[in-house]
């Protein structure tokens, strides 16, 4: 096996994992604290990408685009929470799934009306657009490296926020015992809205980072949200640590599966059969992982301690 290729593929997997973590962290926060299943998280990912794309063209710089789009996406999230989401907290998960599914339809159509169907390709500034040689023979796109490093910094920041600030303390307390937190006289309404907006910013950031690689397009989030749900289910809903580790695991499994499964299959079956089976199995891989995890650990790998 080609070692250089393996290293590159691991980096690719890591980069996918980081993006999944950015999405999943918001999901797991809102789930852990508000007990909310939010499919429309996918729409915030898309909204972030589109706002950033528009601003990139308006300001002429991708970096400015991201900097300005982050608070705007947070604002969209805040408005969404105030307008619709907060009415859902007292409802069951089934209602959450349906209402937020409706929100996806609304956001997708609005995006179509505002930005058109064609999608927007986001240009990168020159210093991000090239490749870097990490070691002899290991050449990796600069921007993907930026995603990995930036994502790790955000993950570190979240860790600090959750474990070493007052807001984080409330978040942790809310995740394990919601009634207790509100009984202590905390303004739970504001806390919820803030947490939701934070989740929106994280999802938006993921969308902004993927836009220069693929593009901003309608329904882009509906494709990845299911994977993000798989991440938080595998990691254990409500657990930030679980979300991080599961995101990395799934990013690596998905990428390495796509790279090596056909070679693996070719060793045991005919080339033609392998060619047919490999894409199907690599697409199924993460769902198989999830089914296996839930079979042995119905609460995921790292369930939060008290529920």
């Amino acid at each position: 096996m080609d070692l250089t290729l393996l290293v590159i593929q691991c980096l690719n997997g890591l980069q996918l994992g980081i993006l999944l973590f950015l999405l999943a962290s918001g999901l797991t926060l809102t789930f852990g604290i508000m007990d909310l299943v939010n499919l429309a998280h996918a729409s915030l990912y898309m909204v972030g990408a589109f706002i950033c794309a528009s601003l990139t063209f308006a300001t002429g710089s991708f970096v400015w685009g991201v900097v300005l789009a982050l608070p705007l996406t947070g604002l969209v999230g805040y408005a969404l929470e105030r307008g619709v989401i907060r009415h859902l907290y007292t409802r069951n998960h089934l209602d959450h799934v349906l209402a937020t599914f409706g929100l996806i339809l609304i956001f997708d159509t609005l995006a179509h009306l505002i930005w058109g169907a064609e999608g927007i390709a986001v240009p990168l500034p020159g210093f991000l657009d090239g490749q870097v040689e990490l070691a002899a023979g290991i050449v990796f796109p600069t921007f993907r490296l930026v995603i990995i490093v930036g994502g790790l910094l955000v993950a570190g920041g979240l860790y600090g926020l959750v474990n070493h600030t007052r807001l984080g303390m409330l978040i942790r307390a809310g995740a394990s015992n919601r009634t207790m937190v509100s009984a202590l006289g905390i303004d739970i309404q504001t806390l919820f809205a803030l947490v939701f907006a934070l989740g929106a910013v994280l999802a938006g950031l993921a969308g902004m980072l993927i836009a220069p690689i693929t593009e901003a397009s309608i329904g882009m989030g509906n494709e990845i949200i299911i994977t993000a749900f798989v991440v938080i289910i595998v990691g254990g809903i409500g657990s930030m640590r679980g979300a991080f580790l599961a995101a990395m695991l799934i990013g690596l499994i998905d990428t390495l599966g796509r790279s090596y499964i056909d070679d693996l299959f070719k060793a045991v079956m005919s080339a033609a059969a392998a060619e047919t089976a490999a894409p199907a199995v690599s697409a199924m891989l993460i769902y198989i992982l999830m089914a296996v995890v839930l079979t042995f650990r119905p609460q995921g790998l790292f369930p939060p301690k008290v529920r």
Binding site: T4, N12, A117, E118, G119, I120, P123, G130, P141, S259
Partner: protein, 394 residues
């Protein structure tokens, strides 16, 4: 069943259509929502332009085109076709970007005794064992374009390629097509996840392609996946090292986006196609000029095929003097392909697929600095698809 349907349709027509309206109804099924809606928009614009160019008339009859959205889903496409056939009682059902939508809708239109015209999709069954006397295509069969590309690779002395395509029937047709003619070595092949949850991040595959040492990359990525692929191809640093040969990936729909994002890596990349905006014939000059004037952009090949669709129908309606019950007459007229086509003169094969030329095209800047494609050379002359023999029609 046919009888009941026809009787029902006739009744419906009496109930619904205002009496005495002499018009020819054309149903046009395409994708107007989802990101693929941009393709449908291009086709819709071209159809409207064609109707304008013929003065809204075919012979003495007014033209009434009814557009329906298939939502990129075969089931929705079939529902739309059912509606056109049963409620609107159209004579022609045209459009169809996607092979699966066409295959799903095929029976609804043909069983009801309507003409079915594909303005894009060309899956192998329709050209072969499922061929039908009332089916016509104004595009091509899936295998033909990549076959031409395989020929180009041989001519240019490319010894090895790496292949990437989405994992669905058209993707497999495309790969089969290039493998049919390409004589060199295939260093590797990746079929990536397609459908609603399509894979758009090709980092793993590009890394493999780079490591394989192939002399070129052949890809087929229609729609938004094409844009994503070209960007990542450039970001991965393959540009200038491993040349890109594509089919249906870089087109007039994606080029403006590439230009806006300044992705000049796509300039000079090569593809094969049955048509190009700079193809030198009267009808094409008129079409491209008017399209650019009216919509402010180059038409795509989807638009070209849709424009031809209206002219093909016009030739049929005028041949029978507007007698829309004369199916045999209209069929015979269409079979002659006796209309001004934007691709120049072509003929129909026994399976009603065009027998036509294929060209090598290259991405260039035009006189105004707008990115477009131009013809480099003719790869095939009067090329017929390889499935015609499987069709039982003469």
């Amino acid at each position: 069943m046919l009888k009941t349907l026809l009787a029902g349709a006739a009744l419906a027509a009496m109930l619904v259509a205002p009496a005495g309206a002499a018009e020819v109804k054309v149903g046009f099924v395409t994708t107007l929502t989802t990101p693929a809606g941009v393709i449908g928009k291009d086709m819709q614009d071209a159809v409207n332009l064609a109707v304008e160019h013929i003065g809204g008339k075919m012979g003495d009859l007014d033209v009434n085109v009814i557009f329906e959205d298939d939502g990129f889903k075969p089931e929705t496409g079939k529902q739309a076709t059912d509606k056109l056939v049963q409620q609107d009682d159209v004579t022609f059902v045209a459009g169809f970007i996607w092979s699966h939508v066409l295959l799903a809708s095929r029976k609804s239109a043909l069983d009801a005794g309507k003409f079915l015209i594909s303005s894009n999709a060309g899956p192998s069954p329709i050209a072969g064992k499922l061929c039908h006397e009332n089916f016509f295509s104004t595009s091509w069969q899936n295998d033909q374009t990549p076959m031409a590309m395989g020929e180009v690779l041989n001519q240019q002395g490319v010894n090895s390629i790496y292949i990437m395509a989405p994992n669905y029937a058209a993707g497999k047709n495309m790969v089969a097509g290039v493998e049919r003619t390409f004589k060199g070595e295939i260093k590797g092949k990746d079929f990536t996840k397609w459908g609603k949850d399509a894979q758009l991040d090709f980092s793993a595959e590009l890394a493999k392609a780079k490591a394989s040492g192939a002399e070129g990359i052949f890809v087929f990525y229609p729609g938004k996946a094409g844009g994503a692929f070209v960007k990542q191809y450039q970001q991965a640093g393959l540009q200038g090292k491993v040349p890109l040969y594509s089919v249906f990936t870089v087109d007039s729909i994606s080029l403006p986006k590439f230009q806006a994002a300044n992705m000049d890596g796509v300039l000079g990349s090569q593809m094969t196609q049955f048509w190009a905006p700079d193809l030198d014939n009267e009808q094409n000059k008129k079409f491209v000029l008017a399209f650019k004037e009216k919509y402010g952009r180059y038409p795509s090949f989807y638009a070209a095929q849709s424009y031809d669709t209206i002219y093909l129908i016009k030739s049929a309606v005028e041949a029978v003097g507007g007698d829309l019950t004369n199916m045999d007459g209209m069929r015979a007229a269409m079979k002659k392909a006796d209309f001004p086509s934007v691709r120049g003169k072509f003929t129909y094969g026994n399976n009603h697929m065009p027998v036509q030329n294929f060209y090598l095209r290259e991405v260039v800047k035009d006189a105004d600095g707008v990115w477009t494609t131009k013809v480099v050379s003719t790869v095939y002359e009067n090329h017929q698809d390889p499935y015609a023999g499987e069709c039982s029609m003469q």
